[in-house]
């Protein structure tokens, strides 16, 4: 799926991802391609992004997850 990570400092990540694991207020969730549209509040914790070649793991402070039909956007305060 098409993933974009945006912070107030700019677009930090833009590309294809296979799976994202995120800490939300209602627990950890995994977003796979063709996920239903969703808006969710992220809490502080570890975020994991699986792309074709590698895995990115990052500590986040909180933000917003937006899943759309064509695109997934993660809005973070800091990356």
């Amino acid at each position: 799926m098409d993933l974009e990570i945006i912070t107030p400092k700019g677009i930090e990540f833009s590309g294809d991802a296979e799976k994202i694991i995120l800490p939300t207020r209602s627990g950890q969730i995994a977003v796979l391609p063709d996920h239903a549209p969703l808006i969710s509040v992220l809490k502080a914790g570890r975020m994991k992004i699986h792309t074709a070649g590698k895995e990115i793991e990052k500590e986040i402070e909180g933000g917003i997850l937006e899943v759309e039909k064509k695109k997934t956007v993660i809005l973070l305060k800091k990356f």
Partner: protein, 290 residues
């Protein structure tokens, strides 16, 4: 003109030239930085703004999105702390004045000026305001904006104001800046459309699920959304201010340079005239004596 007089004038003009030249360099640096900040955070703010569209169907009856009977409105006017930036402040303040007069036909209008120039402008016009914000001219940080945005949200929830407008300067390019007005609260997609840019087809994401709950989302996201919208407007205004200052200083330097040229020409002419006069005097004196 006397020689001495012209010399003094040349000196003072070249002093001005030096000053404006230095300011030009300085504001060029600041402009670059301010532009970088404003452009970098634009996608984030726009994306935040677009959230309003997706949330609108779900949140229609929540307090922050609900329309109440209009009695008092708040106009936040973002200008700059310092002058010397051409017509930047005049443009935004003139626009603000017009907007406020228009709003006053419908309701009472309170003002929240941002930047010293806005504060003194409204003071001069005997406008009362309880709050103001200064010192954010140089790439204001989020922490500096937060008290203001908290105040705006709080007074909106307490029903002190039923509408909040932002009057700011949109940064388009170094040579082009546009004063603009947006309705910040209540959040309405129609009002934010221009700011947030094209949104995806709403129908496609019609069945958006909201987690954990709509109430939580309102509590968590809306204050942030409002804050980031204000922040972006401040950054855009900053970038516009520094760009306007650089352009103004460049024009001033160019004018000063031209003026020095003209004055030097006048000086040389006057000097030549004097020499010619002296030669004339000497030769005529010699003739008389001879």
């Amino acid at each position: 003109m006397e020689l001495k007089e012209i010399r003094l004038k040349i000196q003072s003009v070249s002093n001005i030239w030096k000053l404006t030249g230095a300011l030009e360099t300085l504001s060029a640096l600041k402009m670059k930085k301010a532009q970088k900040y404003a452009l970098a955070s634009r996608p984030f703010a726009q994306r935040m703004g677009r959230l309003v569209r997706r949330m609108e169907p779900t949140l229609k009856d929540k307090v922050r999105l609900r329309k109440r009977k209009l009695r008092d409105a708040l106009a936040v006017v973002i200008a700059s702390d310092r002058g010397f930036c051409g017509s930047f402040n005049q443009n935004i303040l003139k626009r603000a004045q017009e907007e406020i007069e228009k709003l006053e036909e419908k309701s009472n209008v309170a003002i929240l000026p941002v930047g010293k120039k806005a504060v003194s402008f409204f003071k001069k016009r005997q406008r009362n305001f309880d709050h103001f914000l200064t010192g954010i001219g140089n790439f204001g940080s989020l922490e500096e904006i937060k008290p203001m945005s908290d105040f705006i949200i709080k007074s909106y929830i307490e029903n002190r104001y039923q509408r909040v407008y932002l009057i700011w300067t949109d940064f388009i390019s170094t040579f082009c800046q546009n004063p603009k007005t947006i309705q910040l609260l209540p959040l309405e997609w129609d009002e934010l459309k221009e700011f947030a840019g094209e949104a995806e087809d709403a129908a496609e994401n019609a069945e958006t699920k909201i987690e954990p709950s709509a109430d939580m989302l309102v509590k968590e996201i809306i204050p942030q959304l409002v804050m980031y919208l204000i922040y972006q407007c401040v950054l855009e205004s900053n970038a516009s201010e520094h760009s306007a200052r650089m352009t103004a200083m460049r024009n001033a330097s160019d004018n000063a340079r031209e003026r020095v040229g003209e004055l030097t020409l006048a000086y040389n002419k006057a000097r030549q005239e004097q020499i010619t006069n002296e030669v004339c005097e000497i030769s005529s004196a010699k003739e008389v004596l001879g």
